[in-house]
């Protein structure tokens, strides 16, 4: 025996930390703290912030970013990114309204076809990423401009009005006083939260993001998983596009411009790593809520929209920066604690 390492059995038991106090939990907790601080600030600045009317406003306008963010979280967990979501949301609305208004296809069918168009774009993204092995950022940056262009070409740049009771219900209806879109969003969070936590599919996504090589060697069908994830992202973005159309009672090719940045900001704020392999939907949900609250509060305070941009940038950098510093301090403490 030439090499000899530690014979100290005590060393093998790692410094034990309370199990629930994982990094993920801490990130969520610190986010909740920032959220509370933010709310307290707004409440002190404007009397309307903590009114029931305002809370229900926030609740009814959160679904579009919220639902798209689910798909984005999944994609980021696998180590990818999807820039094309805003364009996909616009496309699904345009496809739906054109099929219904110009081709007389029943609205229900048109809606489903519109959402499927989004899934198709997701499939395209996934196929390019997996088969052509092109970096996801580049791939979706390209489809981002292609799909937006397509939405303009198809709609000829026109805004189309869609008024239909049942259809409007998707974006505007309430069930027992709770906005329907919010209920759908929460249901989707539950479903995907469950999938991520408790199904093999969900765990495989983390494995793929953490180490594609290990996943491949362990026999996980990486390609298929990635395809599905991009399709889900496309589907959910398309569905958000439908909610958008329903809320506005009209579809436009310019819809959802910049959605991708809002969504990525929210997801990253929620602790999902751009490097992949890490992230939770709870974090994303909190991130979405924080961003929505921030925008709402700034509008209520009647801050000039120029300053709103500045504030948004600061919040992003501060929130992620503090989390980063916290992680570093945590590591430092851990290494000292051994």
């Amino acid at each position: 025996m030439s090499n000899l390492i530690s014979a100290d059995p005590a060393r093998l038991t790692p410094a034990r930390r309370r199990k629930w106090l994982t990094d993920d939990t801490l990130t969520s907790l610190s986010l909740i703290v920032s959220f509370v601080v933010l709310c307290a600030f707004f409440a002190s600045q404007t009397p309307f912030f903590l009114t029931q009317a305002n809370l229900s406003t926030i609740a009814s306008t959160i679904a579009i970013v919220g639902i798209t963010a689910i798909g984005m979280t999944l994609v980021l967990i696998t180590g990818g990114v999807d820039i094309s979501v805003g364009s996909v949301a616009a496309l699904s609305g345009v496809v739906t309204s054109l099929l219904w208004l110009e081709h007389g296809i029943p609205l229900g069918v048109s809606t489903v076809l519109g959402i499927l168009a989004g899934a198709l774009v997701g499939l395209l993204n996934g196929a390019i990423v997996t088969y052509l092995k092109i970096n996801p950022l580049i791939t979706t940056l390209a489809t981002f401009s292609i799909i937006r262009g397509l939405a303009f070409v198809l709609s000829e740049g026109q805004t189309n009005l869609l008024s239909n009771e049942a259809f409007n219900f998707i974006g505007r209806g309430t069930v027992a006083g709770i906005p329907f879109s919010l209920l759908v969003m929460l249901a989707l969070y539950l479903v995907f939260g469950f999938i991520l936590r408790y199904t093999a599919f969900g765990r495989n996504l983390y494995a793929i993001g953490g180490s594609p090589q290990a996943s491949r060697l362990a026999g996980i069908a990486v390609t298929r998983h990635l395809l599905i994830v991009y399709i889900i992202s496309g589907l959910l973005a398309a569905f958000s596009g439908i909610i958008n159309v329903s809320q506005l009672a009209s579809s436009a090719p310019r819809a959802a411009v910049g959605l991708e940045f809002t969504v990525i900001t929210a997801v990253v704020l929620g602790g999902t790593s751009l490097a992949g392999g890490k992230g939770t939907l709870i974090g994303t949900l909190i991130g979405v809520i924080i961003l929505r609250t921030l925008d709402n509060g700034l509008v209520l305070m009647q801050v000039s929209s120029f300053y709103q941009d500045v504030a948004r940038g600061f919040v992003l950098i501060l929130a992620v920066g503090f989390d980063q510093i916290r992680l570093k301090l945590g590591q430092l403490q851990r290494s000292k604690g051994v």
Binding site: N54, T57, S60, F152, E156, T159, L161, R254, Q302, Q308
Partner: protein, 343 residues
């Protein structure tokens, strides 16, 4: 061996040769009939048209009108470009037009401040310029009197409030477009001031909400939704909006909050989507100032020819503005709404 590399080199050489050939073939000079009296007169003209943006309906209608008129006139070859709401792009388009040897330029660009450099270039090339909506020094102005167009809508809204709400509204939403420069700013100012000056009881300053619509419906929807909690539940709300899309977003937001009955909106442009909203039953969209962007071409192109053929043209040509509402939409756009107008 090395077939691939050789073929690459071969391909490169062929491509290069072709490119050189193309270049040498050069620009074939077109021979055109010259009118002795007027040096710029010809049998046919190439006119460059740079649109403000291709992203919004208003400017799309302008472009379509231009193209249709050019086809009708027969002797106009229209070269199209898109200024993308950007000064640098507008300048680049100007330079491209000069390269393309256009006889005149119609510029619909984003800010008067860029007029200096654009006009300097055009003047150096001896090309007359027509400015749509944004004046440029030395260019023939054509288009909206933006402040006046705003006023029309503001006055109509004030009249409606005077008649239906006893001359008093409790809150005013101003959905503007601060990022898009002075054209929208002038229109907003016209609307806001005309309303306040003509309504019996002006809205208190602290109940006037200036909101950035970012030129999208969903942003209008969002900021209006966010503002509503600051306004009493049963308050009467008026909104002046920068375009039809923003008006639609505003109406959708207020209706989604269940407060549609206490809202009245006016806007600008009167696009087909706006018209469709106006003619709805119990519509919350009172109307919008019409610019008839589809007619810009028909009105402007003949004037361009006039200038080129040395006929006198006034330095500014204003389009006629009309406040379009459900009452008169059939006078101006009967073909758009056959069902509604046949009633």
């Amino acid at each position: 061996m090395n077939t691939r590399r050789l073929s690459a080199i071969a391909l490169g050489t062929v491509v290069f040769a072709l490119v050189v050939t193309m270049a040498l073939r050069g620009s074939a000079v077109r021979v055109l009939a010259q009118d002795s009296a007027c040096p710029t007169a010809k049998d046919s003209y190439t006119i460059g048209f740079a649109n403000l943006t291709e992203d919004i309906v208003f400017t799309q209608l302008v472009r379509e009108g231009m193209v249709a008129t050019a086809e009708e006139m027969g002797n106009v070859n229209l070269v199209l470009a898109d200024n993308r709401l950007d000064g640098a792009t507008a300048l680049a388009n100007t330079e491209n037009f000069i390269t393309q040897g256009v006889d005149a330029i119609i510029h619909f660009q984003t800010d008067e401040a860029f007029g200096n450099v654009i006009m300097a270039r055009a003047r150096a090339a001896g090309i007359p310029v027509f400015a749509i909506d944004i004046p440029m020094p030395g260019a023939t102005f054509f288009g909206a009197d933006n402040y006046y167009a705003g006023q029309l809508a503001g006055e109509a809204l004030a009249a409606w409030v005077n008649e239906n709400w006893d001359g008093q509204a409790d809150a005013m939403l101003v959905l503007e477009l601060p990022q898009s420069g002075p054209i929208p700013a002038a229109r907003m100012q016209g609307m806001e001031e005309a309303f306040q000056n003509n309504v019996e009881t002006p809205v208190a300053d602290d109940m006037v909400f200036h909101l950035d619509s970012k030129n999208t419906q969903e942003e209008a929807f969002r900021v209006v939704s966010d503002t509503l909690p600051a306004i009493d539940e049963d308050a009467k709300i008026v909104a002046v909006t920068i375009n039809d899309g923003t008006a639609l977003g505003t109406i959708a937001a207020v209706e989604a909050a269940g407060r549609g009955d206490n809202l009245m909106v006016v806007g600008q442009n009167a696009d087909p989507s706006g018209q469709e909203e106006m003619i709805k039953e119990n519509s919350r969209y009172l109307g919008a100032t019409g610019y008839f962007p589809e007619n810009y071409g028909a009105q402007l192109l003949p004037r361009v020819i006039d200038v080129l053929e040395c006929r006198p043209v006034p330095p500014s040509i204003y389009v006629e503005h009309v406040f379009i509402s459900a009452d008169n939409v059939c006078d101006y756009y009967p073909d758009n709404w056959p069902d509604f107008c046949s009633q």
